[in-house]
Symmetry: C5
Subunit: 95 residues, 5 copies
């Protein structure tokens, strides 16, 4: 899984109907130093997060393995909000 | 999922017959600043989009999870037309 | 899917017997400007193509979704020969 | 599979309940020269490893193929602790 | 699939028991010019190869599609030893 910050959401009127009712957020990848990468994911939010929160994202086929996402054609989902990273020599609170 | 702009389509006479009737478009990836990446995808269009439209693309195995794409050998599909990106401090209309 | 040119083929005597009878070609990736990338794929040919032809390649698990490739352990297959790319402002014949 | 060093762990209060009871570690990728890459994975620990240990990580869908991980939505798991790398001309003990 | 050279093997005492009896080799990726890439894979050997041999590697979920690898959590397997690459204008013997 990777870490990223929720930076936005998208509006889509014309879409495959399977996507109705799914909240799609823009998540910008974060490296382990807390810096932001150029890479982003449009990810389905399964847990209820908001702008600026740090989240853990599952990508690829494993993103389909819950009841909510099965047969939905999703390749990226948000599965956890991350509060703290604990390294050997420091603790990083994410907010 | 990723965002991209539809920039073209492809013509193929000799192909695996499973691909008959599937519209294949060239989608150029877009970063979150709205700049275009070098990377592109040949993606199957499930919703009916046209040249220059901004779309959301599902890649990899999840691209097979709808009735239309099951057992089709597709690794990239267009599932939504994106009209607006909403960031914390600005709204970007895509057209 | 991605586009590439068939540039060679491989000879293998010692191999997993599932690969007997499968023609494996070297496909060099092409960007949308028609330039060649460093990246290549060893891809199974399902349609009968030859050296120098431009092809469309399916990568990853979707490469397993046809009768010929099921349970074969293939992560890359050639599914179409591409003759023409149609962009907004130009038509590119590939040969 | 890839090799990496366990450099930290993450704390998450708000998460999809499927992740309860799964220990998630931060693993930094290592190249074959033993240098660290920028890339990292948040990986589920199946075998019980600790900070600073060198581990082998399975990524993508194959990460779901054990009883513990099936239907869990995990795209990265730690499956082995690596003690020694044996090259043609040298042996590298990892610790 | 990709090509690479077998450059080493790994020793692991603490591991998920599914990996018992599987020979894991370090394979360094090779580009089509025969140069070595920084990228490597820890791959399960299904055919019996040795140090310095050039092999073809299947990555991702398709690596699980044989009897030996099903449900094993492997994302990379060695499926063929490659002896010769045939290009339009030259033949490269690999050894």
């Amino acid at each position: 899984m990777i870490l990223g910050r929720v930076i936005g959401n998208i509006v889509s009127v014309v879409k495959d109907e399977k996507y109705n009712g799914i909240k799609l957020l823009v998540v910008q990848e974060m490296d382990i130093g807390g810096n932001y990468e150029k890479k982003y994911h449009i990810s389905a939010d399964l847990i209820g997060v908001g702008i600026d929160e740090i989240v853990m994202v599952v990508n690829g086929t494993p993103a389909r393995s819950s009841e909510e996402t099965k047969d939905k054609g999703l390749d990226s989902i948000i599965v956890a909000k991350i509060e703290v990273l604990i390294f050997k020599d420091r603790v990083v609170e994410l907010h």
